[in-house]
């Protein structure tokens, strides 16, 4: 059973269709890089998988639980870092992570242990007593990451986890993701194509709400299945990860 499954996800906002039928499945050990131009529907798709937005059509399942029919069961198995890593700015990371631990059902000593583990994994030791709103962008992102992995979820969904981080922090974040990848199904969205090579085992390119290419990343090469707008296969495309930039522009060109 795939740990994350979506089946024909469609999202309409009034007359505007943001997502036009996205079907994916992500297995254990996979790190799926979600690529696409701004406005392609990456965040909207992630919001539907996590249960924040209700799909207009289609379903999403996490560990077999339908997020619309049984959101709580699905969300228990999910760690989610929303875009911009929102957190309650008036709390300190320790208070915030204790709140998350408690709301996820940990009690007293186990809540402390879970919060402590997350603090260590995200290297937050130096700032745990400072209000989150006073932290730098990099630390805020790490607080959001700590929140997402606090309960060691089998499914992790992160919207631009490395956005705004400096090169050292990016490197550290990528290390964290690869370090836990074997036991989890992970989706990350990113604009940084080199990130695909360093952390992802698979890349999916979406454009105007549709999957236009999907394929594994094997070392330095990517083997994409390319899809036409009606969803039918339009052949395959093998490329070196160094050429991802060109592939990305080629497949999403009409949009610009």
């Amino acid at each position: 059973m795939a740990m994350i499954e979506t089946d024909g996800l469609v999202k309409k906002f009034g007359p505007f269709t943001a997502v036009r039928g996205i079907t994916l499945s992500v297995d254990k050990g996979e790190v799926l890089g979600f690529l696409g131009p701004n406005g392609a529907g990456k965040s909207t798709t992630m919001k539907m998988i996590t249960g924040f937005l209700a799909p207009t059509q289609g379903t999403a399942r996490i560990m077999g639980h339908d997020v619309t029919a049984d959101p709580i069961a699905a969300q228990k198995h999910l760690g989610y870092l929303p875009e911009g890593a929102p957190a309650y700015g008036d709390m300190t990371p320790r208070q915030f992570l204790s709140f998350i631990a408690e709301i996820r059902g940990y009690r007293s000593s186990s809540a402390k242990a879970a919060a402590q583990r997350a603090i260590e994994l995200a290297s937050l030791e130096g700032v745990i007593e400072q209000p989150i709103e006073t932290l730098s962008k990099g630390y805020k992102r790490r607080v959001g990451f700590a929140q997402a992995i606090l309960h060691d979820p089998p499914v992790l969904i992160m919207d631009e986890p490395t956005d705004g981080l400096d090169p050292n922090q990016k490197f550290a974040m990528r290390g964290l993701i690869t370090g836990m990848a074997a036991e989890k199904a992970i989706i990350i969205s990113t604009h940084i194509l080199e990130e695909v090579e360093s952390v992802c085992t698979r890349a999916v390119i979406i454009d105007r709400g549709r999957v236009v290419a999907d394929g594994p990343i094997m070392g330095k090469t990517a083997a994409f299945n390319v899809f036409a707008p009606d969803g039918s296969s339009a052949g395959t495309l093998n490329a070196s990860t160094a050429d991802l930039d060109a592939v990305f522009r080629e497949l999403t060109r009409a949009h610009a």
Partner: protein
């Protein structure tokens, strides 16, 4: 239930983590005192009761309560934390109730801090403390009613200014529903039963009934069901926004 309490604790602590709580409480106590002593001629009345004090509550709540409620949901939307809160494995009702109760208990704390008024009348004379207790309970129930209306309006927008202004207006309508201004207007064309129904929504008449020292079950049910209805509407609104 645990989730509701966890949300409540976080929300309640957040009032005191920022200057908001202190500024609000100071303004609350100051306006309550100023109205009672200057506009209400507390001393000149020469009566040992807090009727003038409580009489101003509905009017002061009109702008003080929306100041608390405006941020309830609008702030979560603006900061994006709503996305976090609503993807945690808790029922929506826990989030709605936890946040509401935190605001309501906070309003209760501000109200309880007016106790020097109570000490003053007891020092100056011998008031009917039963009436005063009933009035405090009534005032707190009424604050809950205003807060529930404000929470619902806050859920409908991510702009706190809009939330504040609209809440103040809607609360005003609920306050004066029984006043001649409203009743006469509807009496011109609506059947009597409709006029009576509208008038029965008046916060003023329910609060005045309690202020007389009688906590009637009907008044408690009125405020209780009003809170329940508006919290339900809050949850529905949040769910509707989810559907986009």
């Amino acid at each position: 239930m645990n989730a509701t309490f966890t949300v409540f604790k976080r929300e309640f602590a957040s009032y005191f983590a920022t200057p908001l709580a202190y500024v609000f409480i100071v303004i609350f106590l100051f306006t309550m005192g100023a109205f009672t002593f200057y506009l209400g001629n507390f001393y000149e009345n020469g009566s040992a009761s807090l009727a003038t004090f409580f009489g101003f509550h509905p009017w002061l709540y009109l702008f003080l309560i929306p100041a608390i409620s405006m941020r309830l949901w609008a702030e979560e939307r603006r900061a994006g934390t709503i996305e976090l809160l609503l993807t945690l494995p808790i029922p929506l009702s826990s989030a709605v109730m936890g946040k509401f109760f935190a605001a309501w208990v906070f309003a209760g704390v501000a109200l309880a801090l007016t106790f020097p008024m109570w000490l003053t009348v007891n020092y100056l004379g011998s008031p009917d403390n039963g009436v005063i207790l009933a009035s405090y309970i009534g005032s707190w129930l009424m604050a809950g009613g205003y807060l529930a209306i404000g929470a619902c309006i806050s859920a409908a927008t991510n702009n706190q200014v809009i939330a504040f202004v609209v809440s103040a207006v809607v609360c005003f309508l609920f306050t004066v529903a029984g006043a001649p201004l409203v009743v006469d207007f509807f009496a011109n064309f609506a059947p009597n039963a409709v006029v009576q129904t509208i008038a029965s929504f008046s916060f003023l008449s329910h609060f005045n009934a309690i202020m007389n020292g009688v906590i009637d079950l009907r008044d408690i049910i009125f405020f209780g069901s009003l809170i329940a209805i508006f919290l339900f509407a809050t949850a529905v609104l949040i769910d509707l926004k989810k559907a986009g």
